[in-house]
């Protein structure tokens, strides 16, 4: 039986491990013993304590495994991925680090390593959807995506499945996009539009910086990603941002030095935390326009209350696990840093991912109409 080491036992890492553990020998490595103990007791997963900030013996630790899943926090992502590639291990990465992954492309190719990056739902699955049409002449790509609680609790009507600071940084960072062939940048939270979804009613979409690899790997003249929230959230976040509460610059307050974003994240953590058993959903709509067709993908997924798994963990984790299976089964063998759109351009891979998701009740609706 092939074996996998999952680095990082957080929400997403544990979802991946639980999924892959059905077919493979899986070991979860994390530095936090409490997290590991929970994974052992609740899901009977094999565990190992490992501090990734300590690189000694890292290569030896991962050597016995056929594949590595890199599900570490973003700030550790790039360095960890580099170490995995140096150790000549195939890897699927879900750490969404800020550095440029393609800087590791030569190393990965030299070492014959397949390293699929950004392999979640968005980025991830949406890129694969686009990838599946890269053989056509794509004119525009738009991804609308958001994870939201069903219960609309005033005033924010939002719960963060990850740390508020990561969400707030998304509201700060200008959104890069392509328009008429030119790369432009718009403020985060701008260009708000209301979209009515059958499943949840009206949501608001606004610009965020989420295109990542797509700006590098494709020449499509129109590319944009927008985040979905309940209407009004963006305007409220703009108030906080414009008044300085999201600032990453140190401010002196009566002699105390503090970054406003740190205090804000700490306070919003309370308001934005999903309650135990609180139901949430993930909604993603991808629109791809080609010369001939208008393709539309629609994903709507909800908390799995039986398995106590959020839709964010399900959609992200199952996509990653599906890619991992294909690599383990030698269905995808191209070495280098592989953006998910390149992975999805392989028709066998794309269909396999969609099939794996469907088996887990993550249903993707697809339709195309002639333009």
């Amino acid at each position: 039986m092939k074996s996998i080491i999952v680095l990082g036992g957080g929400r997403i890492g544990s979802a991946i491990a639980r999924d892959l553990n059905q077919n493979y020998q899986v070991l979860v490595a994390d530095r936090d013993e409490k997290t590991l103990l929970h994974l052992k007791e609740s899901f009977d997963l094999n565990i190992q304590k490992l501090d990734l900030q300590d690189k000694t013996g890292f290569s030896e630790s991962i050597q016995p495994f056929d594949l590595v899943i890199c599900a570490v926090p973003g700030f550790l992502g790039f360095e960890t991925l580099k170490s995995i590639i140096e150790a000549k291990k195939n890897v699927v990465d879900i750490s969404f680090f800020k550095e440029d992954a393609f800087l590791l492309n030569n190393l990965a190719q030299r070492n014959g390593v397949t390293a699929v990056i950004d392999c979640g739902v968005a980025p991830g699955l949406c890129n694969m959807m686009l990838g599946n049409h890269l053989s056509e002449e794509v004119l525009s790509y738009t991804c609308y995506v958001g994870g939201l609680p069903f219960e609309r609790e005033k005033p924010f009507e939002y719960k963060a499945p990850f740390s508020p600071i990561d969400v707030i940084e998304e509201y700060n960072r200008p959104a890069r996009m392509r328009m008429d062939g030119k790369e432009i940048s718009r403020p985060a939270l701008s260009d708000k539009e209301i979209i009515d979804f059958d499943q949840v009613g009206e949501l608001e979409a606004f610009n965020t910086d989420g295109l990542r690899s797509l700006l590098k790997t494709t020449q499509i003249p129109d590319l944009k990603e927008k985040t979905l929230r309940y209407p009004g959230h963006a305007a409220l976040m703009e108030v906080f941002r414009e008044a300085g509460f999201f600032s990453e610059e140190i401010l002196k307050v009566d002699g105390i030095e503090i970054r406003p974003i740190d205090l804000t994240s700490k306070l919003l953590f309370k308001s934005w935390q999903l309650k135990d058993d609180e139901r949430e959903f993930t909604l993603m709509k991808v629109e791809i326009k080609t010369d001939t067709f208008f393709h539309e993908y629609m994903l709507f997924d909800q908390t799995d209350q039986d398995k106590k798994m959020s839709s964010m963990s399900r959609t992200t984790g199952f996509t990653c696990a599906a890619a991992a299976r294909l690599i383990l089964e030698n269905k995808f063998v191209q070495p280098g840093i592989i953006a998910p759109e390149i992975f999805g351009a392989d028709n066998v891979c794309f269909e396999s991912v969609i099939r794996d998701l469907k088996k887990r009740q993550v249903n993707v609706q697809y339709k195309r109409v002639l333009r």
Copy 2:
């Protein structure tokens, strides 16, 4: 010529000094040399450096004067007033301190000192208006009051004529009021209602804790004070308050200890600062219901651009100066801690204050209708 010492040369203190300097010999005392120099150069006022936190020689400093105006910051107010009464000097206080002034009543009576407290616009003038009807059977008293910029700058549509922390504390502190003869407490910012004013259009009124002495000196069964802002301000402030940004409790953020209210005040100071030459207004509506009449007082005042004096300074400062004149001229001689409603109950005093305000173009409209 009679002489006055004004303790505190801030916005209000300097407005009082400039007004009284026309008829009396006035000295302004402050610990800040820059403030004093400005008062000397711009308004030819007599100045003296004096640190009120250092009590040595304080009694001697104020001894030569016929009257003291106490216009120090709130946190120094009570102790300073006490020292003035101990020095047996009549005083008009405008420091709006939090402590109970009536604790000094025995001392003031023993020393034969007249100490008029809370002698601004609200508290102050509104109390005098009520005081003028205390000989009737008053059934209810409501004061609507606010100071606002003419220019409505999103999102707060507010500028603070004093430190944001004082405003935020007003949004935190439960509003004490009397309803059907019972003292009750409602959250600040609650019971929002929209009122249309001829001068400025629709404003929003909500509960704040501003009744102060009225809850002690009167038995009127219905008493309330509401603050006026542009519509929407209160709801936004509630978001900040409920999310913890106004909290006065120390919070630990990555090892740094800070009170959220301090950071919030620091950030809002930028958004809430009146620009140079920005025009603002003060609006106050007092409704007094008696068995027979419905009395209504209406005050609307604007920035004096020629004299570079805000309406807040004008309405507060001129009321205080008018009271000071009456005490200096021995028109009001009652010793003790004198709440402004008691001062206003004296008809000669009340009419003199209204007349002094009118001379300075602070016009109070009064109407009464039979119920």
